[in-house]
């Protein structure tokens, strides 16, 4: 049976269309996951509502205390908009170096967060370590929640609910995103370590947020390591040693690309590179594509 796709010009129109289509409908943002459904042997939904032309979903607003990102902002647009904001190096790197240029020009940040089946989404750990919140809207209603909560419930959202906005609080911090793709460029990462740290006048870590992506089915914070590094200097070698000590906090996922143990085994090295990049004010290290 032929499918249908409605191009929504306004958010209200999209929410109405999603509500009317119910379980038979879905939002279509960049489409880089949906269009690969046949390869995953998954049927396409009957009806799609395209949200990529909605102005408020494709806008990035930068305020002194926060940054708001529309869910249909592409990776390319996001990386360009954040390039001059050093505290967000982690997100600039995540958006600007994932996959390949043509994918980045299509794929949206909302799609990256909402696609439960995509374990190697670069922006998820980056936004976890930035304490991001998200906004979910449906016809006549909206709700704001921490990103971690959204990751927990995203597979159970009711038909008609749409991720509309990502809110990133601003603060003085050093951040970095270290990833290991199988090929130097253009590939998905085997493992990701995203890091955000605040340091005191003596250059000791006051607080740290460390998130790991691609290793397990869903990215999550590395809370034991975060607690252990507080009060210490940001020393890459020592950070790597501590990461090795706590690496059994993760159970890797097996896949055709790499075995589970390998994903976990590269975490100390990625931690070292993330710490070095944060120290040097660089978002990326040599291991990354």
């Amino acid at each position: 049976m032929p499918g249908s796709i409605v191009v929504a010009p306004l958010l209200d129109v999209a929410l109405d269309a999603l509500a009317e289509r119910g379980a038979n409908g879905a939002a279509f943002a960049g489409g880089t996951w949906i269009m690969r459904s046949p390869i995953r042997h998954e049927p396409l939904q009957s009806h799609f509502v395209a949200i990529g032309k909605i102005l408020e979903l494709t806008t990035i607003s930068v305020a002194p205390d926060r940054i708001e990102i529309g869910a249909a902002v592409t990776h390319t647009a996001l990386a360009a908009a954040l390039a001059d904001i050093p505290e967000l190096d982690v997100l600039t790197a995540a958006a600007g170096r994932s996959a390949n240029p043509a994918i980045r020009a299509m794929a949206t940040i909302g799609g990256n967060l909402a696609t439960a089946g995509f374990a190697a989404a670069d922006c998820v750990p980056a936004l976890l370590c930035l304490d991001a919140e998200v906004e979910i809207a449906s016809r006549g209603d909206s709700e704001r929640m921490p990103l971690q909560r959204f990751l927990d419930i995203r597979s159970t959202l009711a038909p008609g609910q749409l991720l509309t906005r990502i809110i990133v609080p601003r603060s003085v911090r050093s951040t970095a995103h270290a990833r290991l793709p199988l090929r130097k460029a253009g590939d998905y990462p085997v493992a990701i370590v995203s890091l955000a740290v605040n340091r005191d006048a003596a250059a000791r870590i006051q607080s740290a947020r460390i998130a790991v992506g691609a290793v397990e089915p869903v990215a999550r914070r590395w809370e034991r390591l975060e607690a252990a590094v507080v009060g210490r200097p940001l020393e890459p070698e020592r950070m790597a040693e501590m990461a090795a000590e706590f690496a059994d906090d993760f159970v890797g996922r097996d896949s055709i690309e790499v075995p589970a143990w390998y994903r976990v085994s590269v975490l100390p090295s990625l931690m070292r590179r993330a710490a070095a990049a944060a120290l040097g004010g660089r978002a990326l290290s040599g291991m990354e594509g």
Binding site: P2, G3, S4, I5, V7, F28, G31, T32, M35, R36, P38, I39, L44, F48, A50, G52, A99, N100, P101, A102, I103, A105, M106, A185, G186, D187, G289
Partner: protein
Amino acid sequence: MAVSLIVNGERMASSADPMTPLVDVLREDFHLTGAKPVCREGFCGACMVLLDGAPALSCLMPLALAEHCEIRTVEGLSSGGTLTPIQTALEAHDAVQCGMCFPGMVVSLTHVLATTPSPTRDDIRMALTGNICRCTGYERIVEAALSAVAK
């Protein structure tokens, strides 16, 4: 209902399912077989076309979202039987191998040469990040592009 597109300067229409990948419409409806559906997941770049002037993966673009867009395939890059500078350079450097990836390479290179003033080797390599060559022919392709820049 038919979807209207502008392909290589010509208005065309397709009544394929609106979720049909654009690459299939180009090949099956319009018989423009330069773009290749190879990986169908956006990794290889063999299906690359210019969509409103920007490189786009036609395997991941549903027909309905290309409506009224201006699409240029590898068949539409040259005009009047005269090769473009990058096509001439690729031929002169004997850079064409099996031809599977090549239309996508030409499309990506056409864009970077048109939009980047004096692109460097790194600019060219970056532009080709999403174009995979199975014949390992990258170096001659990059050299050809640099020679086109120098002219």
